[in-house]
């Protein structure tokens, strides 16, 4: 059975919990320290977005295998306001909260695969995978 962890994000402590769960699984799968840091940072980024924009949501992390490759999948989902302009949100420096605007494009660069689905007033689901090399 594949390892799967859910973490509910409804406060800043949820971000820490998600991060810790992510680091633990990444270590178990066998990622090196740099990739561990990448994965934890990506989780931190996604969890913070949930907390910041949707107030609450979920981070699901699991181990994945595909044609002999092993990896780690992170699914961040919320039922928040959704993202208005998906193209702009992936541009560096675009922010609606006064932050750096590096979050989502940053996560895309930190990870290997990145997918985003968002429906206005319905919520957002971000799926991202890091493969073990």
């Amino acid at each position: 059975m594949q390892v799967q962890t859910h973490v509910d994000i409804n406060s800043e402590w949820g971000i820490v919990a998600a991060r810790q769960a992510g680091r633990k699984l990444a270590r178990e799968i066998g990622f090196g320290s740099v990739d561990q840091a990448r994965i934890t940072t990506a989780i931190s980024e996604l969890a913070r977005n949930i907390y910041l924009y949707a107030n609450q949501g979920q981070i699901k992390i699991e181990e994945v295998t595909e044609s002999g490759k092993r990896g780690m999948k992170i699914i961040a989902s919320d039922e928040g306001p959704g993202i208005k302009d998906l193209r702009r949100v992936m541009e560096d420096g675009f922010t609606t909260s006064g932050g750096l605007g590096a979050g989502l494009p940053g996560v895309k660069r930190l990870m290997d695969e990145f997918g985003i689905e968002s429906e206005q007033d319905e919520g957002t689901v971000i799926t991202t995978i890091k493969w073990l090399r």
């Binding site: 991060r19 990448r38 940072t41 932050g99 750096l100 590096a102 494009p105 930190l110």
Partner: protein, 273 residues
């Protein structure tokens, strides 16, 4: 509690104790109770039911002895679950005794109602006691965390160090900014070293806070050097595309101190003996 119920309960207390002990043994297998040894579990449970019967005997819900007993459980880390389930079982066995005693439906109903009220009140009291102790712990830990939050340490004249350890959340970020600015003025620092060796994750928000803090330090006439950037953190910062080019960074605190000394026109010299 009405006298009749009391009499009934007290009269059959041996039965109640035995029955209750049997019931309580059933959730001995609960995960949260696994670490407790069988003999301790048994003696504590016996103690618990005696204390409960004592409240009935004294006809006083908030009994000092029961409070002390619960306080001890809290300190030993017994789960709240044990208390609430124990009380539920107590209610069940007491009701059973009442049922055996009277056949009159109306009497039964009234007496059961009485027991319900009694037990509910004890549950409320004990749950309050538990949550009060938790709130207290959380509060104390928060204070302890705040105390070790973000000290600004003057190391040389005009040079201060702020070591950051642990997760930086919004509240801490605010504190860091305040301490940094107050400290810079108080110690007349010209150079401040922010050491992030102990920060586990540098995401965009943490970086944003650090950039803001250094910008504020610049405004009060000092300079920031970011030190303690571990290799993996350096890579994630680059991946995230965060621009830290506005202020100098060094890999270790040692190098940072050397740079800071140079910036204030001083140097480390080895003495010839």
């Amino acid at each position: 509690m009405i006298p009749k119920v009391r009499e009934n309960i007290l009269q059959h207390q041996d039965l109640i104790i035995e029955d209750w002990m049997q019931q309580i043994e059933k959730f001995r297998t609960d995960e949260s109770l696994q670490s407790i040894s069988a003999s301790v579990y048994e003696s504590t449970s016996r103690d618990f039911v005696h204390k409960l019967l004592l409240t009935v005997e004294e006809n006083e819900v908030s009994d000092e002895k029961l409070n002390q007993f619960v306080e001890r459980l809290i300190q030993m880390g017994w789960p709240l679950n044990y208390i609430t389930r124990g009380l539920q079982e107590f209610r069940k066995v007491s009701v059973k005794v009442i049922f055996q005693e009277t056949d009159n439906n109306e009497d039964q109903f009234r007496m059961i109602e009485e027991i319900e009220e009694w037990v509910d009140e004890i549950v409320n009291l004990l749950v309050n006691q538990y949550s009060g102790s938790w709130e207290n712990t959380v509060f104390l830990q928060k204070m302890a965390l705040k105390e070790l939050s973000a000290p600004l340490i003057p190391v040389f004249e005009n040079i201060s160090v702020m070591p950051l350890v642990g997760t930086i959340d919004t509240e801490r970020a605010k504190l860091i900014m305040e301490n940094l600015l107050d400290g810079v003025i108080e110690h007349r620092s010209q150079v401040v070293l922010i050491d992030i060796t102990g920060v586990p994750v540098v995401d965009t928000m943490v970086a944003h806070h650090i950039i803001q803090a250094s910008e504020a330090v610049r405004l009060v006439g000092a300079q920031c050097i970011l030190v303690g950037i571990r290799p993996e953190i350096a890579q994630t910062i680059v991946n995230l595309g965060i621009d830290l080019g506005k202020f100098p960074t060094k890999s270790t605190l040692k190098k940072g101190v050397e740079t800071a000394l140079r910036m204030t026109k001083r140097d480390i010299v080895e003495l010839e003996s």
